[in-house]
Subunit: 149 residues, 2 copies
């Protein structure tokens, strides 16, 4: 809806890796099956992440991928920007009026701008660690509800 499939898959894959956390590489097959992502498509996605050095790849038996930085140092922005030209959002408009800026007569620019900035901020501030935290917090919450509710 906002991101390309590649960006979506990349984030989910990296969150999955961060969640596992271990020293040993996480395999493509493992990620694809767990996340329900098409194997071959994810393969290409991981290639990009490897190329921009967000992950490191290992071939052969017991190969796979590891994160190149601590998960609290990996921002969603870095991931997303590898697939979607999110840096161009500055002049992007939901009405397809491009380039759209403060100097252009766009009927919705003033309303869309703050929302756009919020989305931008979210990608720039959130790290993999934050997302993993969300997952565990939610698991707890649902568990409680399941027991007490």
């Amino acid at each position: 809806m906002i991101l390309s499939r590649a960006s979506e898959y990349a984030i989910r894959a990296m969150v999955y890796m961060a969640e596992k956390g271990g020293e040993s590489p996480t395999q493509l097959k493992d990620i694809a099956e767990s996340e329900g992502i098409p194997f071959h498509f994810l393969a290409k996605t991981m290639q990009v992440l490897t190329r921009i050095r967000l992950v490191k790849s290992f071939r052969g038996p017991r190969g796979g991928f590891t994160l190149m930085k601590r998960p609290d140092q990996i921002y969603l922005y870095e991931i997303v920007n590898a697939f979607d030209a999110i840096s161009q959002w500055e002049t992007t408009c939901i009405l397809g009026i491009n380039p759209c800026s403060d100097e252009v007569v766009c009927p919705i620019h003033e309303d869309w701008k703050p929302i756009k900035e919020e989305i931008f901020k979210m990608f720039q501030e959130k790290t993999l660690t934050d997302l993993v935290g969300q997952i565990t917090a939610k698991r707890e919450k649902l568990k409680e509800l399941g027991l007490t509710g």
Copy 2:
């Protein structure tokens, strides 16, 4: 980026019509040329707007389209919803985790939800009149800047 081209074009077309405001129908050709929208594509788009009775069409010489309601009674939501299933946003996720809700372990749900709701609200509250107002306000502003700055 968020909306389909059809939605984008539909909003722009209707804002254009609202801006003109006159009694006489606005022609497809006029809208398409002024807004830089592919003629034939806009034709299909207008057919949809006609079908859902947001606009009324007139054939033949001096034909075209008129709004079926006062522009301050036409909400963006009505337009957008005709092309994009925006009502499904409730359970839509930027990570492609569907259906995504409060009960699903989605790592970004909590952060995305309020933004999603803001976008939703924007579509539900903004009318064509609001957008036309934005246009004229901006024209004024740019004019001032052009004269004094």
